[in-house]
């Protein structure tokens, strides 16, 4: 993207206004990644802003080896992992309320359910809870693979780990999430392996 390189060059030359274009080109991508990583709008907005601030302060360290957006992704992932775990209380509260909703989940079958709308939002809440229960690294790998559609090699680059680590983290995340789904279904079938 030659325009992107020009913009970066202009910002580095002191033309700070060009940074606005860089932000506007990437704000949706970074916001939605932040939303996937944090699970709520407020934190997503906060994280995405932090990403752009860090990018601005460290723009001279961007070597152009990857695309600018990949570099922003890397900042987002690292920033999120390094953030402290202040949200735990809220997550725990939400998990408790989900457990009470377990009975409605049992009735969720694809074809016969008359209250599809309710179940769809319930399903989303369950999946959000399952995501909340993953470790930050697990969530990050899962989100990058399934919601951001990155190949495993690229995830390894973004997270600065080996492809092997990405795979084992991804499989662990999937096992945990399936376990969560199974327990919500109330099948009592034990842990999906």
């Amino acid at each position: 993207m030659p325009m992107e390189k020009q913009l970066i060059h202009r910002v580095l030359q002191g033309e700070s206004a060009a940074f606005r274009d860089l932000v506007e080109q990437n704000q949706e991508k970074i916001y939605y990644l932040s939303l996937d990583l944090t699970g709520n709008h407020h934190d997503a907005e906060d994280l995405s802003q932090e990403v752009f601030i860090k990018a601005y302060r460290n723009l001279d360290q961007f070597r152009g080896e990857s695309s600018f957006s990949s570099w922003l992704y890397k900042i987002a992932v690292n920033t999120n992992i390094n953030r402290n775990r202040k949200k735990m209380t809220a997550v725990l509260k939400r998990s408790t309320s989900i457990e009470h909703a377990g009975d409605s989940w049992k009735s969720l079958s694809p074809d016969t359910n008359p209250e599809k709308q309710t179940d769809a939002s319930l399903l989303r809440t369950h999946i959000d809870t399952a995501l909340d229960r993953l470790s930050r690294n697990e969530r990050c790998v899962f989100v990058l693979k399934h919601y951001q559609e990155f190949p495993l090699q690229e995830i390894a680059l973004i997270m600065d780990v080996s492809v092997g680590t990405v795979k084992s983290t991804l499989f662990r995340a999937v096992r945990k999430m399936r376990k969560e789904l199974a327990s919500c279904r109330g099948k009592g079938e034990g842990e999906p392996r």
């Binding site: 202009r10 002191g14 033309e15 700070s16 206004a17 940074f19 606005r20 932000v23 506007e24 704000q27 949706e28 991508k29 916001y31 939605y32 939303l35 996937d36 709008h41 907005e45 802003q49 752009f52 601030i53 601005y56 302060r57 399903l123 989303r124 999946i127 399952a130 399934h146 919601y147 951001q148 559609e149 190949p151 495993l152 795979k167 991804l170 499989f171 999937v174 096992r175 999430m177 399936r178 789904l181 999906p192 392996r193």
Partner: protein, 270 residues
């Protein structure tokens, strides 16, 4: 029993296509004969569908319109607190072009005008370039999307053949397995090459559809002449479980309706 254990151990790697082709084939064969593992595989596919189908709410036009202003205000605030970093020079939400920017802005406008004139009045090769998996060039997002939808369309006839096959009474020779195998291998290569080219976030659904197609094509490409109706039944259920024919039709309708280069959808779904 030993094979069941191997399947359980390896099923996630099978799902993510992280196994050697021989191992994948052995496991797929095991699924033909073991109903327990087949059920487990179905459940895994269903769970993955649930876990990965996710729509995110759009925060709305006002949010996007005010995004820069809020960010710039925060940068200036933090900068003041830190004693004046470089972001204090940021131009917060100013609609007016500062005098020192007039020259660069004019240059960019001329450049854009040049591009527009070039696109509209210069002869150009309008046919989308094809991708064969070995070529290293990058397709334009629009070409990649068009070729992906075309490939999905081409695969429909083959998928329909499997979807309509009656495993109990059908005659497998009517499917012409050697021909289907060859066609799937070619399509598989193409699907995988095209999927690498779809990098835009709006193409997430299309990319996932190609991944589903790849998965089924891999099964077909691994069919052997001596494989029986059960093998075809597994492919048929893959086509069913993933509702791939329905999704392809939806994608074709969407592609036909949407003007290209339109803005992001109101509700971004991944």
């Amino acid at each position: 029993m030993k094979q069941c254990r191997t399947f359980r151990k390896m099923k996630l790697r099978l799902y993510y296509r992280e196994l050697e082709p021989d191992t994948a084939r052995t496991l797929l064969r095991h699924l033909e004969t073991c109903s327990g593992c087949r059920d487990e595989w179905r459940q895994l596919s269903l769970d993955m569908e649930l876990l990965t189908e996710r729509s995110r709410p759009d925060p709305g036009k006002a949010f996007w319109a005010g995004y820069w202003d809020k960010l710039a205000a925060r940068m200036q605030r933090e900068s003041r607190q830190a004693g004046g970093r470089k972001e204090s020079r940021l131009n917060v939400g100013s609609p007016v072009v500062p005098v020192r920017l007039i020259q660069p802005v004019a240059a960019v406008c001329l450049l854009v005008l040049g591009i527009i004139i070039g696109r509209h009045f210069m002869p150009a090769d309008s046919s989308p370039r094809s991708v064969d998996g070995s070529a290293g060039f990058v397709l334009s997002p629009q070409d990649a999307r068009q070729q992906s939808v075309a490939l999905l369309g081409q695969s429909k006839a083959m998928l329909l053949g499997f979807a309509n096959f009656d495993a109990r009474e059908g005659d497998i020779s009517t499917l012409n397995v050697p021909l289907q195998r060859e066609k799937s291998a070619t399509m598989l290569k193409r699907a995988s090459a095209l999927r690498q080219q779809l990098r835009s976030p709006e193409d997430g659904r299309l990319e996932r559809l190609l991944a589903d197609l790849e998965f089924i094509l891999l099964q077909i490409a691994n069919l052997e002449d001596e494989d029986g109706n059960t093998a075809v039944e597994i492919i048929r259920s893959s086509v069913d479980e993933r509702s791939i024919l329905f999704k392809i039709t939806l994608q074709e309708i969407k592609e036909a309706r949407q003007p290209h280069d339109s803005g992001p959808p109101e509700n971004s779904t991944v």
